[in-house]
């Protein structure tokens, strides 16, 4: 033991490099085994029949309809989240009222609640025999509600810290120079929040595109109507069309990737403007 520490003391650099190799090895090995290898198998299988089979799988009318409704609804939740998420973040930071800390805590509920429970929960209020007499079960509205439920925290949690750090003096200076509230929001607050809002909606979009658990009970999974992409893939797996399921999966993966790569671009753009 003492010999070992003496060696470590004598050659700290060599020591660090060796242990560094271990942590890098563990990290890359685990990631490869758990994440990358299965995804390689997925990509391989999607290309099993060559490009034409891949194209046939993703241009199947039912698959196209499912992808269309997925993208449409995901864009809709982007719009709602950009607006309502920013309002909620604003209220949490700038307003004060009893129960605010409870509201702040509840925002993370969709992260903590299993998605299948989220779907069942919405069905309890907005489904058949619901207490308010509204029944949207098995419609696109139901799918929209489910996606809004699971994506609620993203914009709130990306905008909130930016708003917390936003310098109030800028707003006060603008006000003292005669700017109205609308002008202050448009010229000062909004430009500062915009990159955060974009990051938040990109995360929400990527999440919505792949959502399954919250949607599966409430949507009814009607082909050409409420069936979204992940439910379509699930159906293809169940009916043993694994290659076509793999092809649509790869496309879905590419779409959420594009959204997340967008975030990287936005962050770079935002920091460039800061500097």
């Amino acid at each position: 033991m003492s010999a070992q520490t003496a060696v470590a003391g004598a050659h700290p650099v060599a020591r660090r490099r060796r242990s560094g190799g271990l942590s890098v090895g563990v990290a890359t090995g685990y990631l490869s085994l758990i994440v990358l290898l299965p995804l390689a198998a997925l990509a391989w299988r999607s290309m099993e029949g060559g490009w034409s089979a891949f194209w046939d799988a993703i241009s199947d009318p039912q698959a196209v309809a499912a992808l269309k409704v997925t993208l449409l609804l995901s864009l809709a939740i982007v719009a709602v989240n950009a607006l309502v998420g920013t309002v909620i973040a604003w209220v949490l930071v700038r307003d004060a009222f009893p129960g605010k800390s409870l509201l702040n805590m509840v925002i993370d509920l969709p992260f903590a609640l299993p998605t299948i429970v989220a779907g069942l929960t919405l069905l309890a209020l907005y489904g058949p025999k619901g207490p308010i007499g509204v029944n949207v079960a098995y419609t696109k509205t139901a799918v929209l509600l489910a996606l809004l439920f699971v994506t609620l925290p993203f914009v709130v949690r990306t905008v909130q810290p930016v708003l917390l750090e936003l310098d109030r003096e800028m707003e006060e200076a603008a006000a003292s120079l005669g700017a109205g509230r609308a002008a202050i929001f448009r010229r000062i607050i909004f430009p500062n929040l915009f990159p955060a809002i974009l990051s938040g909606v990109a995360l929400a979009f990527a999440r919505a595109v792949g959502e399954f658990g919250a949607v599966v009970l409430i949507s009814g999974n009607i082909p050409f109507d409420t069936e979204i992409a992940s439910v379509y893939i699930f159906g293809q797996i169940e009916s043993d069309n694994v290659t076509s399921a793999a092809a649509v999966s790869v496309l879905l993966l590419a779409i959420s990737f594009a959204a997340l790569l967008g975030i990287g671009g936005i962050r770079r753009w935002a920091t460039r403007h800061d500097g």
């Binding site: 470590a8 660090r16 685990y30 758990i34 909620i88 925002i107 299993p114 209020l125």
Partner: protein
């Protein structure tokens, strides 16, 4: 005036989308009293699903915690080839549909998959059995510890670690005495998120487990199965158990509050 309108929008939206529906689930679960709800969550299938879910979490959460800390150390403290790749691959599970995760595992370990025929020949059951469910859960809950620990490691810097190693501490001693105490709240927060995700996983587990009642059903797939069997009390009662776990998660998240920790 605008202030009250915004407050109303925020509270109204969160209530209509989260709070009121969740309240109704609780009311529905106990519509016929506590007795039927209790009976519904103590059927053999429900109890099996409950313990299986706990078992999966007990394997997946420690595995991802260990990996998460090691991987965060590698990302922050080391420079190596493929650094960028590791950094983005960690976020991959967040961008993937759970169904796609399940399918990918199926194509690797299922019959006709890369390892599938070898496993089948040697009578090792992975798909439709515990190992694939654990792998699916590890996959989807992998990013959380890494993502919580990386910013903490960046912020504390490595001066104390370097000082310790200059004074003769082995890297193991440095880790236990210096690094781990500094990152413990980040790790704890990451563990809470990982556990919540592990208990709540549905899509990936649905695909790889085959959802065999009394054998490969977890709590979440049990909820789905009860609902499809028109046993609403059973579905709502099991949901209440999961919702209570989610509320405990929220309390723990508030307790650890890493954002405030970091700015202090």
């Amino acid at each position: 005036m605008a202030r009250y309108a915004l407050r109303l929008v925020a509270i109204g939206y969160v209530s209509a989308l989260l709070l009121v529906p969740l309240g109704i689930v609780f009311r529905r679960a106990f519509a016929d009293g506590v007795g039927p709800a209790w009976d519904a969550v103590t059927t053999p299938a429900a109890l099996h699903a409950f313990w299986l879910t706990i078992l999966i979490a007990l394997i997946a959460v420690p595995a991802n915690t260990l990996f998460g800390v090691v991987c965060a150390l590698a990302i922050v403290r080391r420079r190596f080839r493929g650094h960028g790749l590791v950094n983005s691959a960690v976020d991959l599970p967040l961008a993937l549909s759970p169904v796609v995760v399940g399918l990918a595992l199926l194509l690797l370990y299922g019959r006709g998959g890369w390892f599938g025929s070898w496993l089948f020949d040697h009578d090792v059951r992975v798909i439709f059995a515990l190992p694939s469910m654990v792998l699916a859960t590890i996959f989807v809950s992998l990013p959380f510890v890494v993502r919580e620990v990386v910013p903490v490691l960046r912020e504390i810097g490595d001066e104390q670690e370097q000082a310790a190693s200059t004074l003769g501490a082995s890297s193991w001693q440095t880790f236990w005495r210096i690094t781990l105490p500094a990152i413990r709240w980040g790790v704890a927060y990451g563990i809470v998120l990982t556990t919540a995700r592990a208990l709540g996983e549905f899509g990936a587990v649905s695909v790889v487990s085959g959802r065999i009642a009394g054998r490969t059903e977890t709590m979440t797939t049990h909820v789905g199965e009860r609902f499809e069997a028109f046993d609403l009390v059973g579905a709502y009662a099991a949901s209440v158990v999961l919702a209570l776990a989610a509320m405990a998660t929220l309390l723990l998240m508030t307790m650890f509050q890493p954002r405030e920790e970091r700015t202090r």
